[in-house]
């Protein structure tokens, strides 16, 4: 059931990003006005901006911190509490690379969460706890220390696969192999995610497949007009959701499924 290579590839997936500093807002910026970086799909923008902002600070002779900026692509505010890979799959339909992102400093959007490390840590751990609530009624996460919870977040922030899995293996695999519900969220671009209770098995004990899970969340969906993507991959509709939970989850222990109109 578990494939180490898949988990490793998912963790190491990266996206080349070009951060363009908006010259109407960073008026004192010297050349060059952009910064290139390879960012982990499974991480979050506020945790990956320090080098870009250091570069920017030098170029504008001012200390620019993550709380002084926000990110925009194609006129869309990037919800930076979502994983980087999910945002790319959501907004860059034609797969263009590098991903050119506009860095803004004015008019911080009211609807955007603040990028402090504390807020990112909290939102991430909220998702991890909720995923365990769905899988194990919260029994595994509540048996862990606060230090272990923090290690889950810190290992994502510092890109440490082994540190992460030393804790996460308890959330992901248990002796009984029984989970109550599958942690899964369904996204359409421009909308908050839809989350419903998805059992790992059908009434006849057959494993629940992705197609039935999507139908439960979006009963009127017409699959012929959608592409179903997770972790940058077109996922076949007959994929077992338990398999996906074990192999295609993001570090927050959720499967994030993007439904894009084709």
């Amino acid at each position: 059931m578990d494939d180490y290579e898949i988990r490793r590839n998912i963790w190491e997936g990266k996206i080349p990003v070009e951060f363009d500093f908006d010259t109407r807002e960073f008026t004192s910026i010297r050349s060059p006005q952009s910064y290139f970086a390879m960012l982990p799909r499974i991480s979050y923008f506020p945790l990956c901006l320090s080098k870009a902002l250091k570069f920017l600070s030098i170029n504008v002779d001012e200390d620019i911190d993550v709380k002084d900026v926000w990110l925009e692509y194609n006129g869309q505010i990037l919800k930076w509490h979502y994983p980087i890979g999910l945002l790319y799959d959501m907004y860059v339909a034609d797969g263009t690379l590098p991903w050119v992102i506009n860095v803004r400093s004015q008019n911080y959007p009211n609807e955007l969460v603040h990028p402090s490390k504390d807020t990112m840590r909290h939102i991430f751990l909220q998702a991890v706890k909720e995923a365990d609530q769905l899988k194990h009624k919260g029994q595994v996460i509540s048996s862990m220390t606060k230090d272990e919870h923090n290690r889950l977040f810190d290992s994502v922030a510092n890109n440490k696969f082994d540190d992460f899995w030393s804790v996460n293996k308890r959330l992901m695999y248990d002796e009984t192999n029984k989970i109550s519900y599958v942690p899964i969220r369904f996204y359409e671009p421009g909308s908050p995610f839809k989350q419903v209770l998805i059992s790992p098995s059908n009434e006849d004990d057959s494993p629940c497949i992705l197609e039935s899970a999507i139908r439960k969340a979006l009963p009127t969906i017409d699959f012929s007009s959608y592409t179903v993507i997770s972790q940058g991959i077109n996922v076949p509709l007959n994929t077992s959701v338990i398999w996906m939970a074990r192999n295609l989850s993001y570090p927050d222990n959720f499967i994030h499924i993007l439904l894009r109109k084709s």
Partner: protein, 132 residues
């Protein structure tokens, strides 16, 4: 204080209420979290220019200072139906606190009595629980 209004969209049901608190507009929202099976209270404060207030930052304002006392129970996340940043009292804390109130049979009254001291809510939308 405005009354609670029940809203519905393709993502779920929520109850919303607006009031004026000092010079701020406060929007409160109650959603239902199906994973924990508990209601969740969300709120935001906006200044006179309609800008959302950042809680926890340095302030001379006494209302904001009072709220920052509860900063360990309050955090930021995305409102599940509106997709916008709100502050909330997190569901896992709600569950712990409710277990302590074992003598109250009405679940919503129980939850409300826990939440009320923190955010000074008006009368609860009792029909919300039926809808959600």
């Amino acid at each position: 204080m405005d009354p609670w209004i029940i809203h519905k969209n393709n993502l779920g049901v929520w109850a919303e209420q607006r009031s004026i608190l000092d010079n701020f507009v406060r929007t409160c929202s109650i959603t239902y979290n199906s994973a924990y099976g508990v209601p969740v209270l969300w709120f935001n404060l906006y200044d006179s220019d309609g800008q959302r207030i950042t809680l926890g930052s340095e302030t001379d304002n006494t209302t904001l200072q009072k709220l920052s006392v509860y900063k360990n129970l309050i955090s930021e996340n995305e409102h599940p139906c509106l997709g916008m940043a709100f502050y909330n009292l997190h569901p896992c804390h709600t569950e712990e606190l409710i277990k302590l109130l074992s003598n109250e049979k009405n679940y919503v009254i129980k939850w409300y009595s826990v939440v009320h001291p923190y955010v000074l809510l008006p009368s609860p939308p009792l029909n919300f629980y039926k809808e959600a």
